[in-house]
């Protein structure tokens, strides 16, 4: 049953990703990405990573993609015009992609044939994850927090409106008319 579920949701994820690329209308593309996120969450569940699965839904599908959809709606983004399809991409890119996939498949088949992932047999506890994150991976965790802080400062700085004359700019965030909400959302 787990194998069946894996194939169903793996297919869904790949199909969603392909749909994301071929769709012209931005809203459809964004929604297919949501579907990909959901399918990935189920795959995490099958691997026993409950925490990651629901955080994936909560953060990616529930927050980040909502903002994407929000912006698409706000801008009322129209379907893209077809760009000039590069001939190089077709002549070199497609065969290279196929070769790469074949190579991947061959590598995975020869290297990992004897150690399949244990689906559904093992459930990682959230506590273990926390321990790993705050002990073994403490430095990456902290550096990531610096990274987010930098992104946040940058977004506020670049998105904040500035009054003329520029000298009088008490703070970037505190102006609180309804129009600042997009900027405030960027903070998130």
């Amino acid at each position: 049953m787990q194998v069946a579920l894996f194939f169903i949701f793996a297919t869904l994820a790949v199909a969603g990703a392909v749909n994301l690329l071929v769709q012209r209308a931005p809203i459809n593309a964004a929604l297919s990405l949501v579907a990909v996120m959901g399918a990935l969450a189920v795959l995490y569940l099958l691997l026993g990573a409950e925490f990651i699965a629901f955080v994936q839904i909560l953060v990616y599908a529930g927050a980040i993609m909502v903002l994407f959809v929000f912006v698409i709606m706000l801008l009322n983004a129209q379907p893209d015009e077809a760009s000039h399809r590069s001939r190089v991409a077709r002549i070199i890119g497609v065969p290279a992609l196929v070769a790469l996939l074949v190579e991947f498949a061959g590598f995975l088949a020869t290297q990992f044939s004897d150690s399949p992932v244990r689906m559904g047999e093992y459930i990682s506890s959230t506590e273990d994850l926390g321990m790993a994150l705050f002990h073994q991976y403490l430095l990456p965790f902290e550096v990531t927090s610096v990274l987010f802080l930098v992104g946040l400062i940058g977004a506020v700085l670049l998105a904040a409106r500035r009054e003329d004359p520029p000298a009088a700019m008490p703070t970037a965030v505190s102006s609180s008319s309804a129009k600042t909400t997009p900027a405030e959302l960027v903070i998130r």
Binding site: I27, E50, M73, A178, R188
Partner: protein, 338 residues
């Protein structure tokens, strides 16, 4: 383990929960009309059945018989999808809510008093409710109407903003319980309810929950004075009923979570003969949930609506910092005591 009995049990439990839920929604709605009526010196519905008790049935018939309108310029697929999405997701969240500590014997197997027991139940609820935004966003966008769009823009930013405060408020109790499982969180409250050490978190949760469910005083997305009916302006008949259903089920969900996380769930004085002992926890649980539902109605009858910029400023500049401070203090105290 997944065998025929397992599916059968799950099916029965789903059926029971669904039945209870739908009945509850119908009568909360009636209770709301009655209570708000009293608060405004009216009597509320009295005509259909004794004391108006059959009013929900009349409403349901009305919903079914009304003409189902789809605007010409709507995005047909998404217009259809969004009410379904709203209702489905709201019901999905209920599946992990435990309503009692013990087990029930069904088809020769002991099974917990909830549809499914998972280790990260609280996270599941947060994740599923966070997806609920899509229902609102897509409804407003696909209707292709300015009021709907404005309502859904408000709804999306409001829900995304308050979701943060909601989730952060729950972290305090999670730290105290040391688990994300709702069952464990309730069991950790055997001696004292988390509302005592986490009173601040409780207030933040309650406030954010009002905003998450788009209820007064945070019902900006459907502010009827300015937006018609907000994101569901263009919906009628059963599609509208599904949004309606979703809103009330969400109210029940957040009330259940508040009960489980802050008010000790099914804990309460247990006494008397065996049968009473078995039933009392369930009674306590239902009473606590009903208390929150009453609170919702009470607030609706009392408070005026916020202005939009006040709402955003309050969420980001008051609730989120307070919730973060609460996490900091809680984890410091827990860490020092450990």
């Amino acid at each position: 383990m997944p065998n025929a009995t397992f599916f059968l049990i799950s099916l029965v439990k789903c059926g029971v929960v669904l039945f209870v839920l739908l009945t509850l929604v119908a009568y909360i709605q009636l209770a709301e009309r009655k209570i708000v009526g009293r608060m405004q010196s009216r009597v509320g519905p009295t005509r259909v059945g004794p004391f108006g008790l059959l009013q929900p049935a009349a409403d349901a018939i009305k919903f079914i018989l009304k003409e189902d309108i789809t605007p010409d310029s709507a995005h047909k697929f998404l217009y259809l999808l969004s009410p379904a999405l709203s209702a489905t997701l709201s019901m999905l969240a209920i599946t992990v809510i435990p309503i009692g500590g013990g087990t029930v014997r069904l088809f020769g197997q002991n099974t917990p008093m909830q549809i499914t027991d998972i280790n990260v139940g609280l996270l599941f609820i947060l994740g599923v409710t966070s997806l609920g935004v899509y229902g609102i966003v897509l409804a407003g966008w696909s209707s292709n109407s300015k009021y709907s769009l404005l309502g859904s823009l408000r709804g999306a930013s409001q829900m995304v903003s308050y979701e943060l405060a909601l989730g952060l408020a729950l972290i305090g109790p999670i730290i105290l319980a040391g688990s994300l499982s709702l069952r464990h969180i309730v069991e950790a409250q055997q001696h004292y309810w988390f509302i005592v050490p986490q009173f601040l978190a409780f207030l933040i949760y309650l406030t954010a929950a009002f905003a998450e469910t788009n209820r007064i005083p945070f019902d900006l997305p459907e502010a009827e004075g300015e937006l018609g009916a907000g994101y569901h302006t263009e919906y009628s008949a059963m599609k509208f009923a599904l949004f309606f259903l979703a809103e009330y089920i969400n109210m029940i969900t957040v009330s259940c979570v508040a009960t489980l996380v802050f008010l000790g769930g099914w804990h309460g004085p247990v006494f008397g003969p065996a049968l009473l002992r078995a039933i009392l926890p369930l009674v306590w649980f239902v009473l606590k949930v009903c208390f929150f539902l009453f609170l919702y109605i009470w607030v609706r009858g009392t408070l005026p609506r916020f202005r939009y910029d006040q709402l955003m400023a309050f969420g980001w500049k008051v609730l989120v910092p307070l919730a973060l401070g609460n996490i900091l203090v809680t984890s410091l105290i827990v860490g020092l005591l450990a």
